[in-house]
Structures are given as C-alpha cells and as structure tokens.
C-alpha cells in the first residue's frame, strides 16, 4: 500500500515535470520572459517600458519552418517587403532578397542583430534573412521604435535580435527537412557541457530547386540554391568572476542563375552563379569586479561578400561580373554598475572600422567611427520603471550624431502597466549613396554617390561624355550627406486580464526627415542622358496602432491574435496637395485635375490593415501538437500596377491598390518515444500566388521533418 502511494507520487511528479517542460507557457508568464535587447542587460519584459516581442524557441520549433522570414512574416505588424527592383525583374534572380517592414518603415530601417552584433552586407538596404539558419535559435527579440540610443545607425523602426542557444547540457539534435520544390535541409547541433566549459556546434545544409511562377518567361522565379551554415560557441567560466565566450559563424549560399538577356534585341541565354558569403568571429570577456560592478569587453569581426558572374552560354563569354565585399571590426566595452532593474547604470564605448569594395565603386572605401553610450535604469516606489539613455556617434564621413531616448513604465495595478517612450534614431548614408559610380549601359545615364560627384564628373568630361563648356567648379567641393533622422514615439499598455489572458496595445508614430533621395544634376551628358546623385530631401511619417491578445483556453490549447493599423505618408506630398500643386490624370479620359487631401492614401507598399491569428494545441497524453497560424495582409498600393499611371507617382486611385491576401500555415508534430519526433506541415494552404508582386511566395508547400534528440 505504502509502496503504491510512493509509486504514484513518483509518477505524478514525473508527470508534473513533463508538463512543466512541454506544456503551453502560461500567458501571464509572457511578461516574465527575460530579454537582453532592450537594455543590453538581462531584464524581464514587464520591467521594460518598451514595446517588445519575444518569439520563443518553442514557437519556432512548433512551426517547423526552416526559414526565418517565414517565422517573422507571421508576426503582427511585420510584413515582407521586396525591393521593387526585385519584384520587377521578372524571371531574373532577385539580387536583394526579402526584408521585413516594421511600423511601416522599409527593411533598411530595421537593424538585424545576431546575439547583439549586426549583420553587414545590405543589398539595396536589405539584409537577406536567408542568411540566418533557424535550427539553433533560442529566441528572437523584437523591439519596436528607435533603438539607436543603444545600437547606433539603422535602428529607426526597431531591432530584431536573434539569440542563439547557450549550451546548457550535453545534447545532440538532428533534423532532416524535406519540402516541395525538392527542398532539403539537414541540421545538426551538439552541445557539450563540463563544469567550467561548454561548447555548442551547429551545422545546416539547405538546398532547393527553386520554382517558376511564370512559365512564359524564361528562367525560374527563384533560382536553385544551396546553403551551408556553421556556428560554434565556446564558453569558459574561468571562475565566479570571470567568463570567456568565443563564437564563430559561417554562411555561404550559391545560387544557380539561368536567364535571358537581349543584347541586340536577340535573346541570349546566360548562366552563372551568385555566391553570398557571410562570416564572423566574436570574443567576449565578462568580469565581475564586485556585486555592484561588472564589465564586458568584446571584439567582433565580420565580413560579407557577394559575387555574381554570368556567361553567355552560346559563346561562353563573360556577360557580367559584380563583386561586393564588406568588412567590419568592432571592439567594444560595456560597464554595468548598480542593481538591475532598480538602479542600474550602463556606460559603454566602441569603435567601428568598416571597409567596402565593389565593382561599382571607384576604389576601396573605408569608414571609421567611435561611439559611446550611457543608460540609466531606475525604479520609483517599485511602481515606475524609467530608462533614460543616449548615444554619441562620431563618424569620419558624416556629422556627429547624438541620439537620446527616454522610456517610462508605470504599474498602475499589479496586472496593468502603462508604457511610453520617445527616442531619436538615425540611419547613416550607406556606401552606395556616398560612393556609387555607375553608368547604365542600356540607357546611358550615370549615377554618382554624393562623394563621387566631383571626380566622377571630371572623369566624364575628360572622356568627352560631358560638354567641355560646362563649368564643373560648383560640383568639385565634396558634398556631405547627412544621416536620415527619426523621432519615434510609442505609448501603450500591457494588461494581464487574468492569468490566462494578456492584452498588449501600442500606439506609434515615427517622423523621419532628411530621407536620402536621388536628384539630377542640371545638365546632361552628351548622349543627352541625365546624371544623378543623392541628396537629403524628403520627410515622411508613419503612425498607427498595434494590438496583441493572447489567451490560454486550457493547459492544452492557446490562441494569439494581433492587429496593426497603419498610416504612412510623405509630408511633402501632403503639403503639395494642400497647396493645390498635386495633379492626377485619368488614364482613360486623359483629363487632368487636382488631387484632394482625402484621395491621398499614403506611401506605396503599406497595408493599412494587417492581422494575424494563431492556435497552439498540445496533447501531452498522446504527445501530439498542432500549430495553426494565419496572417492577413490588407490591400496595399503598388506604383505602376497593371501599367496604371496617373502622372503623379503617389497613391491616390483605387486602381493602384494590389489585393490583400491571407497566408495560412499549419504544422502537426508527434513525439515518438524519448528521442524521435516527426513533424508534417502545409505552408500557404490557401495557395496564394502573385508572380509579380510576391515572387517570394510559392503556392502551397508541403514539408516533413524528422527530429532526433539525445540528452544527458
């Protein structure tokens, strides 16, 4: 009898253990999640006065997807944004990849970090998110609103920080993934942990045959590719006070390009490859001087290259070769003083050395910058959390930038937190805007980066491409581009309705000024084609509201819903309409009239409404789970849609709207015994396709994963 009870107790405790491990996280716990991105120190979500979202490892694993972009695009308020060039190159390899639009701002305005360090290598402003393998991500932290005060340039809309796994135990994970389009993934991860040292190794191979959404155009929409990634992380806990961390990351992707060109109006097939490589090394030393003071010294080195080369198949002659390499070296030190979160002072400083070389630049370009940041975090009466911080960036290529931010959270009730923050952000002019020296061979125009104007023009005049009578002297003085600037305001609330329901609401407004745009010089080349350069010109704003609601029906079943309302407009256009200087021409009647304020719908490629809904079901008894996630993207403007031109390049006509769509993904998982698991899923169940506007979305996709796990 006694024996029996004991046995039952053991079973019970075993069960409770299991359920604690794999049951759905309590919704209230959402606010207890520990994040690092918001303050550069570990903090509970509830202590941070900023809109922050955490995508957990469990969530990523349940989705079963192999691509980061597939995970991100299902989150509320995040939308895939192609570079318009990428979408229009029908049948051509998209050289830029896909990025994420956040709070209505383009991908170039969101900083992408891995373990707090930036990825370099943006093509047309977009970091190809395909570079990030998904198999060893611990969590993804998304901060909305400017985070320049901690991270410097590019963090205007916010930051997406991908945190990789820290080795906790001895384990081995293997996964095979097979999906439509002969997509094949192999992932292996191993962690070894001793008393003082731990090591994590991760490798991934991912390949696909690509696909073709338009059979009438020669070549595939997405070309076949093969990716390899490898990560390693080594942690050495020297003693209680000192810790060393080393990590390395390597990624390479080879795309097999095959498309048509028309050199003399005759089609010719060209074939070749695009190879993208990304590698980094990171070393960090943590030292705890005493209970109140610790510091971190780190060094980060990363390089990126993109080499594209295509040959004309018939003659085997080189058609085009484009090369880009980027390099970044960053030593940094951060000192933390005081107690987190009640009273913590952080000061830090670092140095950036960047080098870039491209076949479209006249020579190797270098940039050096140093920065310092300070942040004070404190609590008043246990109810109000305040973070005030600022960062100073001194750069060799543009004026020094000072970026302050303040954020306040007030816990009105234990379950009700009001949050508000205001901060500034900047985006440094990129290398292309400063150094590009490119003449289009088809049309004959020339595009010069702001710093290339002087000697670019002289070279054109010497080669007879600019009339010798034109006086170039006003253009020889180097012109500086200023960074693009933003002010972001976020205000909202976190309301824990009860321990199974949490509501989060955030209102946002971003005002961006000094946007860098192309302009043309007041004279042409002798071939009558224009010369362009870059200038700080435009002002835009985005504003809206994001709401998220999480609800646990019971221990097995939970749901999450999100919604974003967005308005994004060009301030100059608003002004021109007000002044009666913005016209439209009806393409059917050819009659011109004025655009009214009401007709202006804002920037292209922004959906006023986006929404998402997901369900998680976990059956502990049968070790099965299901994950269903849907995303709605409302209608959005697209310039030149169906060759509709009304002569003003702004969104003011219903015919300029592309239809909204719904993505619907579903995944089923089944645990087999202790080590094995199988997952099967369908992505884009509704088979949404749009070859022109959304070439990155293949129709319905099926996948199956087999997982193997060993733990000790």
């Amino acid at each position: 009898m006694f024996q029996k009870i004991k046995y039952t107790l053991i079973v019970l405790s075993f069960f409770s253990n299991v359920s604690a491990q794999i049951s759905i996280d309590s919704t209230a716990k959402m606010l207890d999640e520990i994040v690092v991105t918001a303050t550069r120190t570990e903090n509970k979500v509830s202590n941070i006065p900023l809109p922050i979202q955490v995508i957990s490892e469990k969530n990523i694993k349940m989705a079963g997807s192999q691509k980061l972009i597939d995970i991100l695009q299902m989150q509320s308020g995040l939308v895939i944004a192609n570079n318009p060039l990428g979408t229009a190159l029908q049948g051509y390899p998209n050289p830029f990849g896909d990025g994420i639009q956040m709070q209505g701002l383009d991908p170039a305005y969101t900083l992408i970090l891995i373990n707090g360090e930036p990825l370099v290598g943006r093509n047309a402003g977009i970091v190809n998110l395909g570079r990030i393998a998904i198999g060893n991500i611990k969590q993804i932290e998304i901060i909305r609103g400017p985070a320049t005060c901690l991270y410097g340039s590019d963090a205007l809309a916010g930051v997406i920080n991908i945190i990789t796994e820290d080795p906790k135990d001895n384990s081995l994970n293997l996964q095979t993934h097979y999906a439509s389009n002969n997509t094949f993934g192999l992932t292996g991860a191993a962690t070894i942990k001793n008393k003082r040292t731990s090591l994590e190794l991760f490798g991934n191979r991912y390949s696909s045959d690509g696909y073709d959404l338009d059979k009438n155009i020669y070549g595939k929409t997405i070309d076949p590719f093969i990716d390899y990634s490898a990560n390693a992380k080594f942690i050495y806990q020297i003693n209680d006070q000192n810790k060393l961390t080393f990590s390395g990351r390597f990624f390479t992707e080879k795309q097999f390009n095959n498309y048509l060109i028309f050199p003399q109006s005759q089609p010719e097939v060209v074939k070749g490859t695009t190879v993208e490589t990304d590698e980094s090394l990171y070393g960090r030393f943590n030292h705890k001087i005493n209970e109140g003071i610790n510091y971190t010294a780190s060094i980060y080195v990363t390089s990126y290259s993109n080499n594209a080369e295509v040959h004309v198949t018939k003659t085997d002659s080189l058609y085009e070769k484009i090369q880009l390499t980027e390099f970044l070296l960053r030593p940094e030190i951060q000192v933390n003083m005081g107690k987190n979160p009640t009273s913590l002072l952080i000061v830090g400083s670092g140095y950036n050395f960047e080098k870039i070389n491209s076949s479209r630049y006249s020579s190797v370009k270098e940039l050096s910058a140093w920065y310092a940041f300070v942040q004070k975090q404190f609590q008043i009466k246990g109810k109000t959390n305040i973070i005030a911080g600022a960062r100073f960036d001194k750069n060799s290529l543009y004026p020094a930038q000072f970026s302050p931010k303040i954020a306040i959270a007030y816990r009105a009730k234990p379950n009700f937190i009001l949050k508000g923050s205001i901060g500034t952000g900047f985006k440094a002019p990129d290398f292309r805007q400063q150094f590009l020296n490119f003449s289009n061979s088809l049309i004959g125009y020339t595009l010069l980066g702001a710093r290339e104007v002087g000697h670019g023009l002289q070279a054109l005049q010497q080669s007879g491409e600019i009339n010798p009578d034109i006086d170039l002297s006003p253009y020889l003085k180097e012109t500086d581009l200023s960074p693009e600037k933003s002010i972001g305001v976020n205000a909202g609330l976190d309301y824990t309705i009860h321990d199974r329901a949490v509501l989060k609401i955030n209102f946002f407004r971003n005002d961006i000024s000094k946007l860098i745009e192309t302009y043309n010089l007041p004279f042409n080349k002798t071939n009558n084609q224009a010369i362009y350069s870059y200038m700080n010109l435009d002002k835009v704003f985005t504003e809206g509201m994001e709401a998220n609601f999480n609800y646990n029906f019971n221990q097995n079943f939970s749901a999450a819903a999100g919604y974003q309302y967005l308005i994004a407009k060009d301030k100059k256009v608003v002004q021109q309409i007000k002044e009666g200087k913005m016209y439209k021409r009806d393409p059917e009647t050819n009659v011109t009239s004025l655009v009214t304020p009401k007709e202006y719908k804002g920037l292209f490629n922004r959906s006023r409404n986006t929404a998402n809904l997901s369900f998680q079901y976990n059956n502990l008894k049968h070790k099965v789970s299901a994950f269903i996630t849907t995303k709605y993207r409302g209608k959005y403007g697209f310039s030149g849609l169906n060759n509709f031109y009304d002569g003003n390049l702004i969104l003011n006509d219903d015919r300029e709207f592309a239809k909204g769509f719904v993505l619907f993904n579903t995944t089923f998982s089944k645990q087999l015994g202790k080590s094995w698991g199988v997952q099967a899923g369908i992505e884009n169940l509704l088979n949404y396709k749009n070859k022109l506007l959304m070439p990155n979305i293949f129709g319905r996709t099926y996948f199956i994963n087999i997982n193997f796990k060993l733990e000790k």
């Binding site: 229009a88 029908q90 028309f262 042409n524 224009a530 011109t592």
Partner: protein, 197 residues
C-alpha cells in the same frame, strides 16, 4: 511678380482685343474657339532621329523636312525639341506650364523659351525635373500630370499641348520596346490669337 505678369497679360489681352476689333469687320468680341485634338506620334525605339510634329497640319512631318519650318516640335525618347536656334531654322518657342490643362485659357504673350544650344533645350528632360516620371523598376516613363506646354508655332500661332501617355509596342522585358508611342492632346488656335478656350 505673378500679379504683375497677370496684370500685364490682362492689359495685353485688352489691347489685343481692341486691336482685333478695330481691324476686322467681324462683330464678335472674342476670337474663334480653339480646336482641341488628340494625336499620337510613333517612333522606333532604336532610331537616333527625332519625330517631328506640325500643329498646323496636325500631323507628323517626314524626317526629310527636318531642316524646314514645317514642324513645331520634335520628340526622341524623353527629349523634346522646338523648331528654333540649335534645333531648327524656325522661331518656335515654348513655355512649360504647371496646372490643369482644361482651365488654361490664354497663351502668354511673352516668355517663350528656345533651344539655345543642343544641351540647353527649352523643355527640361531631366529625370526628376523633366516632364515625365521614370519608373526605375520597369524602365517605363509616363508624363507628369499637371504639366503641359504652350507653344508659339513657327508661323506664330498659339497652342497648348500635353503629353497624356507614352505607350510602347514590342516590349519584352528587359529589352526596350521596339516602338514608342507618344499620345498627345493639344488645343490649337487657328486665328492667330492667344485665346485657347
């Protein structure tokens, strides 16, 4: 400044109207209404020649007549020329106007620009400042709404003209189209007055 030019043109208009009245037997106080027409000009994409147009005849002028005063303006790609100075033997001039085409009723008396040199043309063809919008994704260009031209023709007639579209045929991206088709709408005053109503 604007006020002044307007005053001047009102004055000029008054003078003209009285002048008109005194030397014609016609009793009508206003000149004859101008005639609005639409037309299109097709040119092969690969040609290096301009296509020439005569408002008087309402027709494209053969290239063999390029050295004559038979044409008023020419077009090639995004560049427009007027029959003057560097571009032709005529004395045609042009003013680029901003506004609603239909509400523009009187041609200015003066202020007409000419093709001073081959690089200083009367009509701006710059990528951002010119008469068209260029779509760098599709390489297509389309005329800016609200921009039109007032010509004083080679035989001193007034006409307002707007380009309403640039079409193309034989377009297989990314290759340029084989033919560009400029669609124009213009209001020509045959009696020589500046009335473009």
């Amino acid at each position: 400044m604007k006020m002044k030019t307007m005053k001047l043109s009102v004055l000029a208009l008054a003078l003209m109207v009285t002048g008109f009245m005194s030397c014609t037997k016609d009793d009508t106080k206003e000149s004859a209404p101008a005639v609005t027409k639409t037309d299109s000009i097709s040119i092969p994409f690969s040609t290096s020649h301009y296509a020439f147009f005569s408002f008087k005849n309402g027709a494209v002028v053969p290239i063999t007549d390029s050295a004559s005063t038979n044409w008023d303006f020419g077009v090639h790609f995004v560049t427009l020329i007027v029959n003057s100075h560097a571009s032709g033997p005529g004395n045609a001039g042009v003013i680029t106007e901003e506004g609603v085409f239909d509400s523009f009723t009187t041609a200015p008396e003066s202020g007409y620009a000419y093709d001073t040199t081959s690089t200083q043309l009367a009509i701006d063809d710059g990528l951002t400042t010119g008469w068209y919008n260029y779509d760098d994704a599709t390489h297509s260009f389309s005329p800016k709404a609200g921009r039109f031209f007032v010509f004083k023709t080679t035989d001193n007639h007034y006409v307002k003209m707007e380009i309403t579209g640039v079409d193309y045929s034989g377009f297989i991206p990314p290759n340029p189209p084989t033919t560009l088709i400029y669609k124009i709408r213009y209001t020509y005053q045959a009696d020589g007055s500046r009335n473009l109503k």
